[in-house]
């Protein structure tokens, strides 16, 4: 019986293991290996260069500026999706009559393609005839019409775009967590005359710790890996709007320096894994204390 099971297990798991192993694990391992070479991504055979790529990375100014930009918008993304989404969820949770409709409105943008969103924001933020500036000029606030795609506002435009497209997702996770709070906790607090802020502080927030953990880790990973959003928003991104992920793409595909690109990816991957593990550990202990 047991042997039959073992064989069956191999047969059942086989396709998944082969596909995933062959087309995700294998390239990933190869990728890591390439970071120690000077591979250009196609033609020429790579030569082993040891830690040369990593040394170069250490003094790469463009990498550092992309890192700074990435860190800035990651922090903003983190705050928005961990705390902003929580606030929105708490507000939406109190809606009883138009619950389905209102929640759908906030979730809908998540369902659209990134290309559609990028297009939309390109059209909205155009300085001359974009919708936002047209409205501002129309209602008599021409000085408020800014160069949204330009260097001063790029970070905020990106944040707006990212928030618009993904806020619904993170908010829904919080809403689901809020559903698990038993009614009697609310009733008890009502008897004591607690207002909504108090209810939030003492009942909702503590119960939301699991989702806070999840969302904080996810939003951090999301922020650091920001790549597609940059491409669809700016057809040819300016150097000051490079995120690390986009820089890797530039170096690798357009710059033909795959060895160097994968070296950067490796560093990012290690950093990410470390942050994620740290975060989960920190928040898990807090959870246990609850």
């Amino acid at each position: 019986m047991r042997h039959g099971n073992r064989l069956a297990a191999i047969v059942l798991a086989g396709p998944a293991i082969l596909l995933y192993g062959g087309f995700l694990v294998l390239p990933a391992l190869l990728g890591f290996g390439y970071s120690f070479t000077n591979w250009n991504g196609w033609g020429k055979s790579p030569q082993f260069t040891g830690l040369a790529n990593f040394k170069e990375l250490f003094s790469d100014d463009l990498f550092y500026s992309s890192l700074r930009f990435t860190l800035t918008e990651t922090v903003l993304t983190f705050l928005t999706f961990t705390f902003g989404a929580m606030v929105l969820a708490v507000l939406l949770d109190r809606v009883k009559l138009m619950k389905g409709l209102i929640r759908s409105l906030f979730f809908y943008p998540y369902v659209l393609s990134l290309l559609v969103g990028g297009l939309l924001f390109q059209w909205l933020s155009n300085y001359r005839d974009g919708a936002v500036n047209t409205v501002l000029r129309g209602i008599g606030l021409p000085t408020w019409a800014k160069e949204w795609m330009g260097p001063n506002w790029a970070t905020w435009l990106l944040l707006a775009f990212v928030t618009w497209s993904a806020l619904g997702f993170f908010t829904t996770l919080y809403l689901a967590n809020l559903q698990t709070i038993p009614e009697d906790m609310y009733e008890a607090s009502e008897l004591e005359g607690a207002g909504p802020v108090s209810v939030f502080r003492h009942i909702q927030f503590p119960m939301l710790v699991p989702t806070i953990t999840t969302n904080s880790v996810m939003s951090l990973i999301f922020g650091i890996n920001l790549f597609g959003q940059i491409i669809v928003l700016w057809d040819k991104p300016r150097v000051d709007t490079y995120t690390v992920a986009y820089y890797i793409y530039r170096v690798g595909i357009e710059g033909n320096r795959q060895g160097y690109a994968t070296a950067i990816s490796l560093v990012v991957f290690i950093a990410l894994a470390a942050i994620a593990i740290l975060q989960v550990r920190l928040l898990r202990t807090r959870q246990v204390q609850q």
Binding site: V11, V111, V232, Y249
Partner: protein, 274 residues
């Protein structure tokens, strides 16, 4: 929660906020019915007349019909692969006492963290080596292999809600392990399968980046790639047609969303609760 007299104004305030949130989309729909001149002149007004030419152009000039079918096919096949291979693997690793099950489970978990950049180019090289680079098959492999870790994770979670006694009962009835899986366990995984269908239906159809990278830019004949070619017009972008394209390509996803809303949310939350 007791209803206070502020409940209705409160909900209306949030309703207005919600409508503002989706207003860009409404604008796009409105503008898809305008001619290009009208869009630049009055981006926020109602169309003076319904310029349906934007839509007919999509199928005559831009020829969006065929790429749409191809995207649909790509999505369908990806989903089919995922809803067979993933639950099979989840069952094998969690219930059949597979040799080294723990190792294999962790093996798949790593796939959830690996960033896309690392595998992007080596994968392209691998496809070139196999002679399938820039083909639909290669993109399909990317979607399925990339989706397996998460799909297996979701199925594994759901599998734990299926009682083991059913497996044992089937064995007593003389069912082999594979038959047990397909006849008894898999049907019980239906809610999970629905979730997977919805999520990947959404993701694969909407995907632009992976298609762009693995089909060699706009050489690939898929829906969103075709739309992207419209955006590359250096001089004057034909916004009217572009908006019409956006509406048409977003329609299936919107319909899916409106009908399957509850499932989407249920699926998301089930995964998050792990």
């Amino acid at each position: 929660m007791r209803r206070s007299k502020w409940q209705i104004p409160y909900e209306f305030a949030l309703l207005v906020l919600g409508l503002a949130f989706v207003s860009p989309i409404v604008l796009i729909v409105l503008n898809s019915f305008k001619s290009l001149k009208e869009i630049t002149a009055a981006p926020l007004g109602l169309p003076s007349h319904l310029a349906v030419t934007n839509y007919s152009d999509l199928f005559s000039k831009v020829d969006l019909g065929v790429p749409m079918l191809k995207s649909f096919g790509m999505t369908a096949i990806t989903i089919l692969c995922l809803v067979t291979f993933a639950p099979m693997a989840a069952y094998a690793m969690n219930r059949l006492g597979m040799a080294g099950a723990r190792f294999w489970r962790n093996f798949f978990l790593i796939g959830l963290i690996v960033p896309f950049q690392i595998v992007m180019i080596p994968l392209l090289k691998e496809f070139r080596f196999l002679g399938i680079h820039y083909t639909y098959l290669s993109l399909l492999l990317v979607y399925v292999s990339g989706g397996l870790p998460l799909a297996i994770f979701i199925y594994s979670g759901f599998l734990s809600t299926v009682p083991k006694e059913l497996d044992e009962a089937a064995v007593i009835d003389g069912c082999g392990p594979i038959a047990t899986f397909w006849r008894i366990v898999f049907p019980l995984l239906k809610p999970c399968t629905v979730t997977i269908v919805i999520f990947w239906g959404l993701w694969v159809w909407n995907d632009f980046l992976s298609a762009f990278i693995f089909m060699g830019g706009t050489r690939g004949d898929l829906a969103f790639l075709r739309l992207f070619t419209l955006l590359q017009d250096k001089y004057v972008k034909d916004w009217g047609t572009i908006f019409a394209g956006v509406v048409v390509l977003s329609a299936p996803v919107t319909v899916l969303y409106l009908t399957m809303q509850r499932h989407l949310v249920k699926g998301l939350t089930a995964g998050a609760m792990k």
